[in-house]
Symmetry: C2
Subunit: 224 residues, 2 copies
DNA sequence: TCAATAGTGTCTCTTAGACAATATTGA
DNA sequence: TCAATATTGTCTAAGAGACACTATTGA
């Protein structure tokens, strides 16, 4: 009992940060620079610092600030994982967070201590991640899909201004299936009239009919 | 930094244990015997013991075993609460669990260290609970209602054998609104044919037509 | 027979999916 | 005009809610 790791568990915040790259859903991974699992890829995470963090949400925010040059606009707790053997350093708890990043902010600066970052397709996982992070990633994916399936709008993955076609495409990418354009827009009007604001006078132009631009309403929450 | 409470947070598992008493939803509270908040009512909870618990789920189970003479048949993680000020003893994390107890097992033995237990209507909360437990209770309630609203069946609150009318009554009590008998049973046949098993030859008798008894199918999960 | 609850049937209205039709641009 | 995408309309089938109806018991 002299080892404080047996009296107090290690507490981590791990984050599954999603965005869209090349029309496919991607999640951010970091290559671990230090043991345990040095060289393996993992979800970005870090240990709770009681002298620094206001709460575990703050731990997750601090971890992401250390890795990316941006503040993520959405962060939500998913679940915890705990036990004596999931981390070689001792009895540990990981609180898993789901985060979203706008697709136009995917190219971000790399922080200091990190060996490497990469965005990968969570469906095409080639190698298992460090610790139990493959399982955690699956749970975060399930949560994200369930929310979009329940008609929650992942507006935080879009640029500030977007078209309804872009929004539909994002939902299709997350869900992994095509949606009917008419049904999708009908539901937007029914359920999200107060969450979407028309941006007047600015259209997306191309070799086709210009599309209306929209933005998320003030105080929009990714709920569902 | 010499105080280990600033290096390592206190980690608790707190449980909102629900059942039905007198045709109303109730939650189990304990009166705190020791400081902080001695004498105040709180959700049953306890500190993680890394040398004893296999994981946080195990902590919650151990806490309930210490208070009740039964093993609860359902236990699910809801969320966490964390920060430096929510517990006077230091930076702390509570992992909140939602648990269900069959209504015929509400009268259970009281454990050793507990000053008192009581079942209360979570809607008719007279006084705020200790710590942030009023907020935690609200979140557990929200989770329970959301699941039943999504047609998850809270079979773990019923006796082993039950009638469909009893099942409907439980759902109505949780949701706080009446359900249509025909719609309810139609949905049971559509969605829960594999979750419900007819118990043949045993009817509930009274001054009315006898009702068919059912039980949860083997391996039933309260999902949704 | 009647009260009381169990269990089923039916009608209507709403919603979801499929798919067609129209609109507007640049080349 | 044509290709390409935006936006809207319509038909149909499935599902939900309301409510009535039948069934079976003990008193």
């Amino acid at each position: 009992m002299s080892n404080p790791r047996q009296l107090y568990p290690l507490v981590f915040a791990d984050v599954a940060l999603f965005s869209v790259v090349d029309d496919r859903l991607h999640v951010l991974l970091v290559r671990r620079a230090e043991a345990p699992h040095a060289g393996q890829w993992a979800l970005p995470g870090g240990i709770l610092k009681p002298d620094v963090d206001k709460d575990l949400h703050g731990t997750a925010q601090r971890v992401l600030r250390g890795k990316l040059a941006v503040d993520v606009p959405y962060l939500e707790e998913v679940c915890t994982a705990s036990g004596p053997h999931r981390d070689e350093r001792g009895w540990s708890i990981s609180v898993l967070y789901l985060a979203l990043l706008p697709m136009d902010q995917v190219h971000v600066a790399v922080g200091n201590k990190i060996d490497a970052l990469k965005w990968v397709d969570p469906f095409a996982a080639d190698a298992p991640l460090a610790f139990d992070h493959s399982e955690l990633l699956r749970k975060a994916m399930d949560r994200l899909r369930a929310k979009v399936e329940r008609h929650a709008l992942p507006l935080h993955m879009l640029p500030q201004k977007f078209t309804l076609s872009q929004l539909q495409r994002i939902c299709e990418i997350v869900l992994g299936r095509d949606l009917d354009k008419s049904v999708f827009r009908r539901r937007l009007k029914e359920l999200h009239a107060q969450n979407l604001v028309e941006v007047n006078g600015e259209m997306v132009r191309g070799v086709q009919r210009p599309a209306q631009l929209w933005r998320a309403a003030d105080g929009f929450k990714f709920i569902g």
